[in-house]
Amino acid sequence: MTDAVTEIIPPRETKTSTAPRRSLRSLPVFSDRVFRAVCFAAGGVTVAIMLAVGVFLSARGGQALASAGPSFLWVQEWNPRDGVPDSFGIAAVLFGTVTIAVIALLLSFPLAFGTALLISEILPNSVKRAMVTIVDLMAAVPSVVFGLWGVQYLQENAVPVAQWISSTFGWIPVFAVTGSDGASLTEASAFTSSAFIAGMVVALMVLPTQTSIMREAFSQAPIGEREGALALGSTRWGMIRTVVLPFGRGGIIGGTMLGLGRALGETIAVYMIISPIFTINWQVLKTGTNSVSALIALRYGESSEFGLSALMAAGLALFLITLVINFTASSIVARSRSGAESNG
């Protein structure tokens, strides 16, 4: 077999060197030129629409920002008047937004994490597929439905829980519920429409997103390492801890952050539940909180020209925050995907 040597044909130099080099540029036919033009036009229109939103928001919001100055970041009231610098700021609403989102994440993270592991590691195939479908389907349920449920059902059923947390853990400042004189409140009306209840509803809304991203990351953990761990005598939980979780770390972080992005931008469910206030409220169980999106929904109608641009400044701030969070999250998810392959 080894004696069959490939014969190398020497290039005929004289001929090729004199001939002109063949051009490899493609020469589009008419239909291709039209196709390219249409595609570029569609891309252009899409970008134009989206940039129009960004530019318009920045331009109109910038007007209010220029008038307010840096006090926009720490003033707690919202009573925008042109030329009065301390008349409005997002401190209180941004604080409320972040409170609700953090509560939502604290509640949803363990649930999403456990459900994702359950689906990818434990359930048999037939149940798994049904569970995945249900979770995906829940991501499509409109937010107004969650808000309706929160107002009509959760509100009254969560108040005893809030009362119990407050009376048991009231010595932790965040869980205390006190009136203006500092005495702790116990009546149910002090516990309704709180950041806690809004956070519970938002937690339900971000659960499907988080679960499906984590599940996808977990199921991509390499089969070779999994079976290696099991073959070395590991229990299933040991295998999950040493193989699935390290490989799925990007998915866990990214999924949680994408959920955070959704939680920050959620409007209608929060708006239906909370009773809006314009001060920073550290007591998460107590009535009254606010969020940027609820502020916009509340105030857009009565706003003057300047009031509208102040609202746009608030919306722009929210958009920038969610933008940063989403981009970070998707880059984390993407990076975790690229290296997660088994070698054998």
């Binding site: 077999m1 589009p28 036919v29 239909s31 291709d32 595609c39 570029f40 569609a42 891309g43 229109v45 899409t46 970008v47 629409i49 989206m50 940039l51 939103v53 928001l57 363990p110 649930l111 999403a112 456990g114 459900t115 592991l117 359950l118 590691e121 434990i122 359930l123 479908t133 249900i134 995906d136 499509a140 349920v141 937010s143 107004v144 439905v145 969650f146 309706l148 107002v151 059902y153 059923n157 005893p160 119990w164 339900l204 229990t235 939980w237 040991g238 992005g261 931008g265 209608i268 708006y271 999106s293 916009i296 929904a297 020209e305 958009f319 933008l323 969070i325 989403n326 981009f327 998707s330």
Partner: protein
């Protein structure tokens, strides 16, 4: 032994060797008089495990009831469940620990915790939907709810007066306009991102990814400030449709982009190798291959768009009357109608709100089911009917080509006719 021979040897499976009667494998048989040991079935629970689980559950329930009834003056079903659950987990850990080591206890506990998370999530999500639909039944059971408007129905009127026909029509018109803009624009943009590429395409992709982060209320505020206060001066269905478009467009582009990326490269390359132009390739290869995925992308985008409340809240306006003209006058849609109904303190209106929410849920869920039915398959995977049609088409082509080679140019068919070799 030559190399070829050795390769042959490697390729044969052990069963081949046995069947050829070389070194026969001896199957060990159990000595007579001894019972065969029962076959082990890994992955199924033993009876003791069931006892552990059941006993722990029983203990949890008993302790919680005892605590709640006799010792602690606590109340509330949620508190009862929490206490019962904590006791259950503790007792279960102790029971497993009686017979197994630390690792096994950790494994069991982790499994129980994961199962709990799954059950809680499933119950909560299903409960939200069932609760809404259940409380919507009183309104849904009146047929007038689907055909009348709220024009002559006051807040105190019983449920057999008035309905949500105007909101249904409003939703259909708004989503129709939004789809008419989103579907062509979104799909062509996704084709642009995948088939043409280049720096501008990367820029488009970045911008549309960024726009998925846009909070829906901000999209509504944009349309309110740019379109309503500056141009039309009144809220209308068209403005709402534009707001929904701004929300839906990035979603559709993103999912269509993912679907088009899944089209196998060899299909495209085969098409180019046959001399097809770029446009021909897209139209006859790429789009048909990814048709079901694209339909799913559009339907899921539609489900999202129908449920959007906050942009519509700012842009469409509230009305109790039927309005079929999207360009003038307020035009309400289903989610906004839910929101408006439940703002009222009257129980009749709240019941109507639940009825409307149930209609909305059923609409979204049926869209989702349709999307699943169409889009369950990956790119290029055909259903039975599609495969039958494709086979029929290629058989037709074969006949056509054979016919032509026989009659048209006898000179060209001088060599072999490959079509006849593979019927």
């Amino acid at each position: 032994m030559s190399i070829v021979d050795a390769q042959e040897r490697v390729r044969e499976t052990p069963t081949d060797a046995v069947s050829r009667g070389g070194g026969r494998t001896r199957v060990p048989t159990a000595p007579a008089g001894r019972a065969r040991p029962e076959r082990r079935r890994p992955g199924t629970a033993a009876l003791e495990d069931g006892f552990d689980l059941g006993g722990a559950l029983l203990a949890g329930i008993c302790v919680a009831t005892l605590l709640f009834g006799w010792i602690a003056p606590l109340s509330g079903i949620i508190g009862w469940i929490v206490v019962a659950y904590i006791v259950f987990v503790a007792v279960y850990a102790v029971l497993v620990g009686l017979r197994a080591d630390r690792l096994a206890v950790a494994n069991r506990l982790a499994t129980v915790l994961m199962a709990t998370a799954g059950i809680v999530v499933l119950t909560a999500l299903v409960f939200v939907v069932l609760y809404t639909v259940g409380r919507g039944i009183p309104a849904l059971s009146h047929p007038n709810f689907f055909v009348e408007t709220m024009r002559f129905a006051g807040p105190l009127d019983p449920l057999d007066v008035g309905g949500i026909a105007h909101a249904v029509v409003g939703t259909l018109i708004q989503i129709g306009i939004a789809l008419a803009i989103t579907v062509p624009l979104g799909i062509v943009t996704a084709v642009f991102l995948n088939e043409i590429g280049g720096p501008f395409a990367r820029f488009v992709r970045t911008v549309s990814d960024a726009m998925t982060a846009l909070p829906s209320i901000v999209a509504g505020l944009f349309v309110y400030a740019a379109l309503i206060t500056l141009v039309t001066k009144e809220r209308s269905g068209f403005a709402a449709a534009v707001a929904i478009t701004v929300m839906m467009l990035p979603i559709v582009i993103r999912s269509a982009d993912v679907v088009l990326r899944l089209v196998p490269h060899h299909l495209r390359e085969a098409s180019y190798a046959l001399g097809a132009s770029r446009w021909r390739t897209v139209w006859t290869v790429v789009l048909p291959t990814s048709r079901s995925g694209l339909a799913t992308a559009v339907i899921l985008g539609t489900a999202r768009g129908i449920g959007e409340t906050s942009p519509v809240l700012l842009t469409s306006g509230v009305t109790a009357e039927m309005n079929t003209n999207p360009f003038s006058g307020p035009m309400i849609s289903l989610p906004l109608q839910v929101f408006t109904f439940v703002q009222s303190p009257e129980p009749q209106m709240v019941a109507r709100g639940f009825g409307t929410a149930a209609v909305l849920i059923l609409l979204v869920l049926s869209l989702f089911v349709v999307a699943r039915l169409i889009g369950g398959r990956g790119a290029g995977v055909l259903s039975d009917g599609q495969r039958r049609r494709a086979t029929h088409r290629s058989r037709h082509d074969l006949i056509r080509i054979t016919h032509r080679t026989r009659t048209d140019s006898p000179a060209r068919s001088g060599g072999t006719t490959p079509t006849q070799e593979n019927p």
